[in-house]
């Protein structure tokens, strides 16, 4: 068939179904947008760290890395340079810091190297040499960072490293034209001696990057290991990228899981929108076949429909997705910046665009072709009537539905990560069960009509039984069911995860009633060490019962940057009970207090094949042998957590520095009063701040919400899409019913009766659809929650979210009834004369 004629045929028919086509376009576009925006977020996140790293390391391929922020002596540089096969070595001091300006604070990495080595590093450090900063006592920052905190060149700012707070001079503000994409990295540069002075680490560095001669990398690596003597890490210079991938993996995977499911839901909404045009398309296919169009020609015509629909919807989806990624799905969850130098540059990979576009096209093809496959390939009949084998098909559908319901059970038990398969099965079961549910609704309606009488009820029963209304009725019920299913399962799972993280935050902050820590947005995990010089002063404050020394830090263990938590021996539960996965709580507590024991996240234990009771060597600055006391959740930190007592920590780190003071007030003394006294005692110049447990909990919750922001946004979008889909479905149902309503008016039915019948009919359809949707939604919630727990290792709290079900049901039903009340009434007011135009 000629393309021009196919195009013409499309254009001709488009006029008659423009509204439905628009709904279908919107449905697919939402799916494409969600898929693309989550991919952009993921790519931006994954790509930002390599960018920052390249800015520092340049062509260096190996690194000798300290295991704690305290670093190692700079004099080791000479030994490294003297190793056979080493071409160049570059000492680097990297310190996590908080930069404060007139407009606010930002968590940054202060990177520095010796002036003579700067030329060996990446553009970030090379520029440092070019700006002649090495002679100055000043730092350089990128323009976006300077703007964020309100700083400009030659201005004075405050820099906080650990418990030290120093005034710094902004020597230069770097533009994108100077350092390219690195402008979005949260980094500042300083000459090495100046950075050492600022951080109180004179003569110390945190890494030495090494360039080896061609073909001699192995030899250099062995030499470095000898120098490291088991107390430093010898890694590839891009090792941090691997650590970051591991840390960001759970967030990425869960966002992708949600986005995929949302895309599936978007597609189903689109399919439902297309279902409203099925009777029309079906009539057309039949006509064309009678007119002599071959199957191939009809497939060509429908393919063209699908291609136009898919192309328009996917293009719109790409635009929406791009917009979403700018406005909502930011690529840098703040919690990862506690441990990594994560930038905020948006990266849009061509592959993601292609995948999202392809998915949209596929959805359109399936949406257009699948419902009509029977009409294209079956035998034509001139007689309208019941199809043969309907009963057989019904039984087959019910059997298939039962199988689809069983698949998620298998997924739950055997392969929780395959949650997408489970959800797809549930959706299939939902759709397969709907016709049976519809029959039950019809039976209920007939029974009601018999029992109560009433013309509206009787009319509704007749309409529901009508063959011509079946596709539309199913489409309305399916839209309601999918809307509620999606909202309940996705919102519920997100809620369970959120509750788990909230519990984890509460548990950790519950080690003490009041905390004194170095303030800064990047120190929420209390991993910044400082000398424990103020403990006695704090203990002497009136109303203070006791002060415990809390220690904690980040430690690279295998492929994970783990979070080491070290409460004082005196705390009642070193491992909060909620976080314990295996082991006797009392025994675990006594072992951890006694020392030489550690509780490990399941993920870490699994990676190192460790079980309770086994020994392992903690790769700390002073490698220490510990035994596994218990298995725990990851305490909300994706790479996992290790709990030891504070004394074991000091031994393993070779330092008595602490990360926080945990303060317990005397009985009856308000924590807020102690906090005020503490602030007064520490003085305005101190970098330590006093926070109550509640304040820390609020900060922690805010951070966990930020970490799950993309999931929350996807959840909200699904609910919005559900409401819009419901409005669209109801609108289409009512609009298409107008001629029939006019017909009924000719038969003497008044507008009130017709409207009431419409309300009853829709209410019954919605109740049936939404009930199945809610029921299977709870099943889906369980499936997704379990998958999230397995994928993320997060402490998920399983709870059947009744409020979520009610909210979703309420919103979807409200949207449907708003449409039903106003446009439904207007439709019931249709003039009978529209049928009498002859």
């Amino acid at each position: 068939m000629r393309l021009r004629n196919i195009l013409l045929l499309y254009r001709v028919r488009l006029r008659s179904r423009l509204v439905q086509e628009v709904f279908a376009v919107l449905g697919i576009a939402v799916g494409v947008a969600l898929l693309l925006s989550s991919q952009i977020a993921r790519a931006s996140l994954d790509g930002s760290l390599p960018q920052s790293l390249d800015g520092v390391v340049g062509n260096m391929r190996l690194q000798l890395d300290a295991r704690s922020p305290q670093g190692f002596p700079e004099r080791l540089l000479a030994s490294v340079e003297g190793l056979p096969g080493v071409v160049a070595a570059m000492p680097v001091l990297e310190q996590r810091a908080t930069l404060s300006g007139p407009r606010g604070q930002a968590s940054i990495i202060l990177a520095s190297t010796a002036a003579r080595s700067a030329g060996l590093g990446g553009p970030l450090l090379r520029h440092f040499a070019a700006t002649q900063l090495e002679r100055q006592q000043a730092i350089a920052v990128a323009l976006p960072l300077a703007q964020a905190v309100g700083l400009s060149p030659l201005q004075v700012a405050h820099l906080q490293i650990g418990s030290r707070r120093e005034q710094v001079f902004i020597g230069a503000v770097l533009l994108e034209s100077e350092i390219g994409a690195l402008t979005d990295s949260p980094a500042a540069m300083a000459p090495l001696p100046y950075a050492q002075r600022l951080s109180g680490m004179r003569g110390r560095v945190t890494s030495i990057y090494v360039q080896s001669a061609p073909g001699r990398e192995g030899e250099v690596r062995r030499g470095l290991r000898r120098l490291a003597a088991g107390r430093l890490n010898v890694q590839s210079s891009d090792f941090a990228v691997r650590l970051f991938d591991q840390a960001a993996g759970p967030a990425n995977k869960s966002a992708l899981l949600f986005a995929t499911l949302s895309a599936l839901v978007g597609f189903l909404f689109a399919l439902n929108a297309i279902l409203f045009t099925v009777p029309q398309r079906r009539g057309l296919v039949e006509d064309l076949r009678l007119d002599g169009y071959s199957r191939r020609m009809i497939v060509e015509v429908l393919l063209f429909d699908a291609l136009v629909l898919g192309a328009v919807a996917s293009a719109l989806g790409l635009l929406l997705g791009d917009l979403l990624s700018v406005l909502l799905f930011h690529g840098s969850p703040g919690y990862l910046s506690f441990a990594f130098s994560v930038g905020s540059r948006r990266i849009v990979p061509a592959l993601s665009v292609a995948v999202a576009f392809g998915s949209g096209m596929l959805a359109a093809l399936a949406g257009v072709l699948i419902p009509l496959r029977g009409d294209i390939f079956s035998r034509l009949s001139l007689q309208a009537g019941a199809r043969r084998g309907a009963r057989g098909a019904r039984h087959a559908a019910e059997v298939l539905a039962v199988i689809c319901l069983a698949i998620p059970v298998a997924v739950l038990v055997a392969a929780p990560r395959a949650a997408t398969l489970g959800i797809v099965s549930l959706v299939a079961a939902l759709l397969l069960l709907l016709p049976s549910a519809n029959r039950a609704i019809v039976a209920a309606c007939r029974l009601l009509a018999r029992l109560r009488g009433g013309r509206a009820l009787h009319l509704a029963a007749v309409e529901l039984r009508s063959d011509s209304n079946r596709a539309r009725s199913l489409a309305v019920a399916a839209t309601g069911a999918i809307a509620v299913f999606a909202s309940v399962s996705i919102q519920g799972a997100q809620g369970n995860l959120q509750r788990g993280l909230d519990d984890s935050v509460r548990d950790l902050d519950g080690y003490a009633t009041l905390w004194a820590t170095p303030y800064g947005p990047g120190n929420l995990l209390m991993t910044t060490a400082f000398p424990a010089a103020s403990a006695r002063r704090i203990a002497r404050l009136s109303g203070v019962q006791s002060v415990q020394l809390y220690r904690g830090g980040l430690l690279d263990y295998g492929s994970r940057r783990t979070w080491v938590i070290a409460p004082a021996r005196t705390v009642a539960h070193p491992v909060p009970l909620d976080q314990l996965v295996g082991g006797n709580p009392a025994l675990v507590a006594s072992r951890l207090r006694s020392g030489g024991w550690a509780a490990l996240s399941q993920g870490i234990a699994a990676e190192h094949h460790l079980h309770v009771g086994q020994s392992f060597i903690l790769p700390s600055p002073r490698p220490t042998t510990l035994r596994v006391a218990a298995l725990i959740t990851n305490m909300g930190w994706p790479p996992g957590a290790i709990v030891v007592n504070a004394d074991d920590y000091a031994r393993a780190w070779g330092s008595t520095d602490v990360s926080a003071y945990g303060i317990t007030p005397d009985p009856g003394v308000a924590p807020a009063r102690i906090a005020r006294e503490l602030r007064r005692a520490l003085g305005p110049g101190s970098a330590l701040v006093a926070e109550t447990t509640r304040q820390r909990e609020l900060r922690g919750r805010a951070a966990s919400r930020q970490a799950l922001a993309s999931l929350l946004q996807i959840t909200s979008l699904v609910l919005i899409a559900a409401v819009l889909a419901m409005v669209a479905a109801m609108g289409a149902l009512i609009w298409q019913r107008r001629p029939h309503l006019a017909d009924m008016k000719i038969d003497g039915f008044g507008r009130g009766v017709l409207w009431r019948a419409l309300v009853v009919e829709t209410a019954l359809l919605l109740v049936g659809g939404c009930f199945i949707g809610a029921l299977l939604g709870l099943y889906g919630q369980l499936l997704l929650s379990h998958a999230l727990a397995v994928v993320t290792d997060f402490p998920v709290v399983y709870a059947l979210g009744t409020p979520v079900v009610l909210t979703s049901l309420g919103l979807v039903t409200f949207a449907a009834f708003v449409v039903l009340l106003v446009p439904g009434y207007l439709a019931a007011c249709v003039r009978p004369s529209i049928l009498l135009q002859d």
């Binding site: 001709v12 009539g283 002599g292 071959s294 001139l382 002859d838």
Partner: protein, 241 residues
Amino acid sequence: MLELRELVKHYNVGEGERVRAVDGLTMSVAAGELVALYGPSGSGKSTLLMLIAALLRPDGGTIRVGDREISSLSEHDGARYRLRDLGFIRQSVSLVPGVSALDNAALKLLGTDLNRRQAHRRVSPLLEQLGLGGRLHHCPDQLSMGERQRVMIARALSTGPKLVLADEPTGSLDSRRGREVLELLAAICHERLIPVLLVTHDPRAATFADRAHVLHDGRLVDHEPALDSALDSALDPVETR
């Protein structure tokens, strides 16, 4: 011309029972001849039309349209035959809403190699001949039922078919419009020398047809009493009073 010889089509309806929808039917329709076929519900009229339209394969017998045997056409050839050689006028008026009469009538031609302009050029005189010259650009909702049916007739005739099958073309029309449509069909049949087989309940069709037959249990019943009785039962009670 259309020639049916010993045409047989049986259906299995379960438990070994078979319905003889068309049972050894032999008949012909010559070029320029309009044949009306009456029959009660279930007499096999629709099956016969589907057999002639190559939508069903007969269990026995032959169907010839012109010099072409169509009873054993493949799916593809059957479609090609319907597109080029057959005009099928349906009882249901299925025009695309929101689209002009001209475009609706040209819909079938878009399946051929003609472009839109050529298709319009082909159907415009047809529509004018059918009395729709002033309504070419009107959409279905601006046309009366009779006018819509005439657009369907124009669509069926647009490819210059060798045979026209009409399935209750007056079924949804009032008596005046029905008569007009029958007159048009007869005129087209005679002017263009196209054989037309008209399946109908409309008793007026007999007055426009060159021949009328009654189909009963898949067989033709040609004797007058049967035809009279069929016509009587087909006549509207109000009109017979």
